[in-house]
Amino acid sequence: MASIFLRALTRSRDRLAEALAGLVPGRRADSATLDELEAALLGADIGPETAAELIDVVRDARAEDVRPALAAEMVRVLKSAEGPGADAATGPRVVLVVGVNGSGKTTTIAKLASFHQSRGDRVLIAAADTFRAAAVDQLRLWAERLGVDLIAQGSGGDPAAVAFDACQAAVARGSDVVLIDTAGRLHTQGNLMSELDKIRRVTQKVVPGGPHEVLLVLDGTTGQNGLRQAEEFLQSAGVTGLVLTKLDGTARGGVALTIARRVGLPIRFVGVGERDSDLVEFDAREYVEGLLGTEAAE
């Protein structure tokens, strides 16, 4: 597993590794090294404020301690946001998937379906993106490929109605997991954001306590706007965790660290490709290792 993270982040960690390699044991990190380190953190989209705070933590450390101290602090921040997800008492576990346009929601649904299938769960998918052109076709092709149930209506329908139908079907069929795909929406679109609340409410009507998990799919290339996304989707949709996608490129998704610190949302999964198997359960230590190119401190 560690190797998947390392591989996914290899291309991106070079800069950090370089900065860290410049440290001479026994001495304090000099300001040039700290500047390099800050640049590396900035380059990972950690953001100027969090980067400055991280640098402050290691400012007075001896050179050989900078690396482990930085890693430990990053792991601490990420772990502080973690907590157990709610479990379904009875009936299916309902997972609502939300996010801005094109972040990778539909593909993540396919990956999650495959993930749950491999654990022996019976999965049902709800195609509640009734807006985007061919969104239903996209999900149907994935459902067929994976052999999971799909509930869909024609395009232009009411997304809440699709979610309602799907939950009822899941109860009737004895499904273990319901995955609800939603249309991409920018967090600034008030009416579309309140639509998510409606989906939540109809879900609850059928499956008490649902949705048990609301995943915000965050494009790993996203910059500081990710923080706004997390805040707004948390408020409107009750997000419980993040999925960080597209980490197979050169982006590192460092804004997720800032989200963990500021909003308290944990990263649950990481997307590392376009196939249904390209999903990894998040592990803070391995992620930081991949980012820093170093053994994260215990």
Partner: protein, 443 residues
């Protein structure tokens, strides 16, 4: 966040005030805050460094103009720099070669390529062209259906092909366009990572086969620091001509625009501002520059100060103010200038020193109140406006009735006016700097 930043920036910049030239030390302080603002806006840290270096060189050279504080001057130079990097004047996409003109649309996964192809098609048709759309995305599930659906709703012709090969599909589309007499072929490609060699080779193969006249790179405006690596890798692999920035309808500051323009030197032609077919606009460098800076208010004020303040009026007024001869006519023309410049509270934020006086904005009259004040003055006779002393009780009643206000409001205005007349006299005796701000009525 931004408010906070702007606040901090103003504090720093206020310190710059009063010196006729910007020196190294004061610039360094301002630069720290500007750097933060640009990084928060997702401008690549390397680009930020370069930008500030060139702003510094210019700022240290320039003498501070009469109407701007040195801080505003720095922002003005930075803004000009940003607009310059973003392409200066807005760019038009033109075709030169023989029809059909092939346009290849490329970019990372989910950037908005397919939607943009639909929007571009609609736009070109509005311009009297006959576009043919084709998807060569043979990878993502239902990618071709997506474009086909767009074609149906917008009544655009989408080339159908049975081939599952990207190069073949592109070639067929060009042949089809020739046969049908279409003059533009818009090719929608699959999303790909710049580090995915096989996929980048596929894009090169498509380009080699259909020799596009234009290759446009689509960039999501929410992208952070990675924008630089991705855009430059695409530009290295393919002869990219320019960019299209999508999802600007959100609240991302869009620093990516600056990053990609800076590293590739290529223009940004269009901005996507929604999911619908008409949500494509010509890219305006100046608008995006001020969005990135997050100081639209400061910038428009700077502009307005330069454009709109009627210096003649101001200068005559200054003289009268110094002599304590300010009339209610002057007062009214000042009010009108303020209203031309925008809301009072915004203006106050920009006043040197105003941000350090918390609550000042709440104390300032709002726009509705300014209008009422103007109405009161309008109800006065010329003599009353020039010699407010003559306004007795019955005159006050008449003015209140004429302006639809109350006697109390008239009283309040007259009192404020008398106070500000005194204050101005005092201030001007002290030889305060000659900025337009010096003449604002003090409430």
């Amino acid at each position: 966040m931004f408010e906070q930043l702007t606040g901090r920036l103003q504090t720093t910049l206020r310190k710059l005030r009063g010196s006729a030239k910007i020196d190294e030390k004061s610039f360094a302080e301002a630069a720290r805050e500007l750097r933060l603002a640009l990084l928060e806006a997702d401008v690549h840290f390397g680009v930020v460094k370069d930008l500030l270096a060139s702003v510094k060189a210019k700022a240290l050279e320039e003498t501070v103009t009469r109407s701007l504080t040195p801080g505003q001057q720095v922002i003005k130079i930075l803004n000009e720099e940003l607009v310059g990097v973003l392409g200066g004047e807005r760019q038009e996409l033109k075709f030169a070669g023989a029809a059909p003109h092939v346009v290849l649309i490329v970019g990372l996964q989910g950037a908005g390529k397919t939607t943009t192809v639909g929007k571009l098609g609609a736009r070109l048709r509005r311009e009297g062209r006959s576009p043919l759309l084709v998807s060569v995305d043979v990878h993502r599930p239902a990618a071709r259906e997506q474009l086909a659906r767009f074609g149906e709703t917008a009544d655009l012709t989408v080339c159908e092909s049975d081939s599952d090969d990207a190069v073949q599909r592109a070639k067929e589309a060009v042949r089809e366009a020739r046969r049908r007499g279409d003059d533009v072929v818009l090719v929608d490609t699959a999303g790909r990572l710049h580090v995915d060699e096989a996929m980048m080779q596929e894009a090169q193969a498509v380009a080699a086969a259909v020799q596009p006249e234009r290759i446009l790179y689509v960039c999501d405006s929410m992208v952070g620091q990675d924008a630089v690596q991705a855009a430059s890798a695409f530009a290295d692999a393919l002869p990219v001509d320019g960019h299209i920035l999508t999802k600007l309808d959100g609240d991302a500051r869009g620093g990516a625009a600056l990053s990609i323009a800076a590293v590739t030197g290529l223009p940004i032609y269009f901005a996507g501002v929604g999911e619908k077919i008409d949500d494509l606009e010509v890219f305006h460098p100046d608008r995006v520059a001020s969005r990135i800076l997050g100081m639209g208010d400061v910038l428009s004020l700077i502009e307005k100060v330069q454009d709109q303040v009627d210096l003649e009026v101001t200068e005559g007024l200054e003289k009268r103010a110094r002599q304590g001869d300010l009339t209610l006519d002057d007062f009214r023309s000042q009010l009108q200038q303020i209203r031309k410049m925008g809301s009072m509270s915004k203006l106050l934020e920009l006043l040197p020193g105003a941000s350090s006086a918390p609550g000042l904005a709440q104390m300032a009259p709002d726009d509705a109140e300014l209008k009422r004040i103007e109405a009161i003055i309008n109800s006065m006779t010329r003599v009353e406006r020039h010699k407010p002393r003559v306004i007795n009780g019955s005159r006050r009643k008449r003015i209140a009735a004429g302006s639809g206000t109350s006697v109390q409001e008239v009283n309040r205005l007259l009192k404020r006016f008398a106070q500000s007349r005194k204050l101005m006299k005092k201030l001007n005796k002290k030889g305060r700097r000659n900025t337009p701000w010096a003449n604002l009525p003090s409430f």
